[in-house]
Amino acid sequence: MVVEMLGVEKRYGDVRALAGVDLAVAEGEVVGFLGPNGAGKTTSIRVMLGLTQPTSGEARLFGGSPDRREARGRVGVMLQESGVPSALRVREIVELFSRYYPFALPTDEVLARAGLEPRARALVSTLSGGERQRLYFALAIVGDPDLLFLDEPTVALDVEGRRAFWQQVVGFAELGKTVLFTTHHLSEADAVARRLVVIDSGRIIAEGTPSEVKRRVADRTVRFRADLPVSVLEGRPDVQRVDLEPGGLWAVYTSEPERLLRELFAQGAELRDLTVTDADLEAAFVALTRREGVAA
């Protein structure tokens, strides 16, 4: 196993950030960590990396302690809230980072993989948010890591930037590398990962292939105004949650908006101000946790 977490618990005072997480990631897997803010995604990554010590339980990288220099040398990371010296040029900082690792890819290849070739001579201080994020990606892959950790890598990117970024990640994974990333966006995780791990309140609440997980998570929100009894919507197996929002707007969280709407129209329902959007994942996960009844 490349990554293992064995009953990992992490407390910050009275707060349980991780409440017993077990996970095993095999070589070559691309795993997406999904969950709302504060679910424990970042803490999990930090424990796996040996940057945070678990309160109890154990994390293992390549079969040993994540703290070993040997393990660090085989891992590339994109962290949130990291910085690089702003007075260096892109090529300079990539070259410097290549020295930190026992093996390194040629700088030109790293810049190409991160789509930074045209900005190779730019000062870090002049990079846009998206370019900066690509620089962090370049720094994560320069050591030719066997395992890549990406913590919310697309947070600062627009839609086009996201698409391009995940293309770069997939390109790197195709070298046979193991990739573990966190994100808020179910659609991204769906497109990139072969396995999804959904975490909430410090525990894993769902795990499986993207289609398995999606069946259990409402990834669309249908909003409309209508004179409908709420009983028509609640209790359906394809509806995770129904809210009546301020202004008399119904919000229905569902994984199958097409079927829901087809049936509503068939019943002759008059829907006004109809929209279908990607679900706010937080709400979707809340629904999922509630259904699990915080059983454990």
């Binding site: 930090r46 220099r69 962290l79 300079e92 020295r99 930190y100 026992p102 890819l105 040629p106 030719d144």
Partner: protein, 283 residues
């Protein structure tokens, strides 16, 4: 672009991956990056190199005719004083304030996730600072010889430069400790609060003999005063140092012990503060 990766050294390395250089190469690369980055911040270069030289030019030439009892010019004593002032500014600002600010920007956090050992980061800053200190001294010495009638034998020039650089390295942990202790936003203020009083009270600007009694009484308890004393001892007779500072000599060994003690104590503080910072970052 690489093709599919092969197994090498128990790893899944890409075909294009090559071993990186050894520890020396890493140190050199880090120092080079620090130096290149600092050259792009002109205020840093000016602050470190130009200010000590300009201050020396303001204060020393008017004193170039003044002689101490055993024949040393007052301007000759002033030269290493302003040099020590410049080196102290490197210690407190290039180490202390820079480290604190880079901690704040998450640069250290990213470095800690790499296999690079912590000494590389500090070693790079140290190498860059020694280089800056050497440049400062070179300019200062040239200006002193040209405009303030400072005359030393080749051996004395080398001795004074050597003592100044070695003493600066001994004071470096002071900056490291500040860098890891201070909150990023407060570091610059703390640096200034330490910097100017230390420089004055150690006699780097004006001779201690011309300063109030309480500073003269305080000076022997400051590591930076002993730094100055060692520098002056490397070229001036003891009688002239006593006349210039107004303080009786305590002996070279005492001053060496002060610097060695400062090095050891602040190294320990710096290591403790570094670990504390890492623990906090680990949460």
């Amino acid at each position: 672009m690489t093709g599919p990766s092969d197994r090498r050294d128990g790893r899944r390395l890409s075909a294009n991956a090559r071993p990186s250089g050894g520890a020396w190469g890493l140190w050199f690369a880090q120092a080079r990056a620090e130096f290149v980055a600092s050259l792009r911040a002109p205020d840093f270069v000016i602050g470190v190199v130009a200010i000590p030289v300009l201050l020396f030019l303001m204060f020393a030439p008017p004193n170039a005719r003044a002689m101490l009892p055993a024949g040393t010019r007052v301007s000759t004593m002033m030269m290493p004083g302003f040099g020590a002032f410049g080196i102290l500014s490197l210690v407190l600002f290039a180490f202390g304030v820079e480290i604190a600010q880079e901690r704040g920007k998450g640069w250290l956090r990213l470095m800690r996730a790499t296999p690079a050992p912590a000494w590389v980061y500090l070693g790079g800053k140290l190498a860059m600072s020694v280089l800056y200190a050497a440049v400062t001294l070179l300019v200062l010495f040239g200006v002193a010889a040209a405009f303030a009638q400072v005359r030393l034998s080749p051996q004395q020039w080398l001795q004074v430069a050597g003592v100044m650089l070695a003493g600066g390295v001994a004071l470096a942990p002071l900056g490291f400790a500040l860098g890891f202790l201070a909150r990023p936003r407060a570091a610059s203020t703390i640096g200034n609060l330490v910097f100017l009083p230390l420089s004055f009270a150690s006699g780097f600007f004006l001779p201690l003999s011309s300063l109030p009694d309480f500073l003269r009484n305080l000076a022997p308890y400051l590591p930076t005063y002993h730094y100055g004393r060692l520098i002056w001892s490397s070229f001036a007779p003891a009688a002239d140092i006593t006349a210039y500072t107004g303080i009786e000599p305590a002996g070279t060994l005492v001053s060496v012990a002060w610097l060695a003690g400062t090095f050891v104590v602040f190294s320990l503080v710096a290591v403790w503060a570094y670990r504390r910072d890492r623990r906090r970052d680990e949460g």
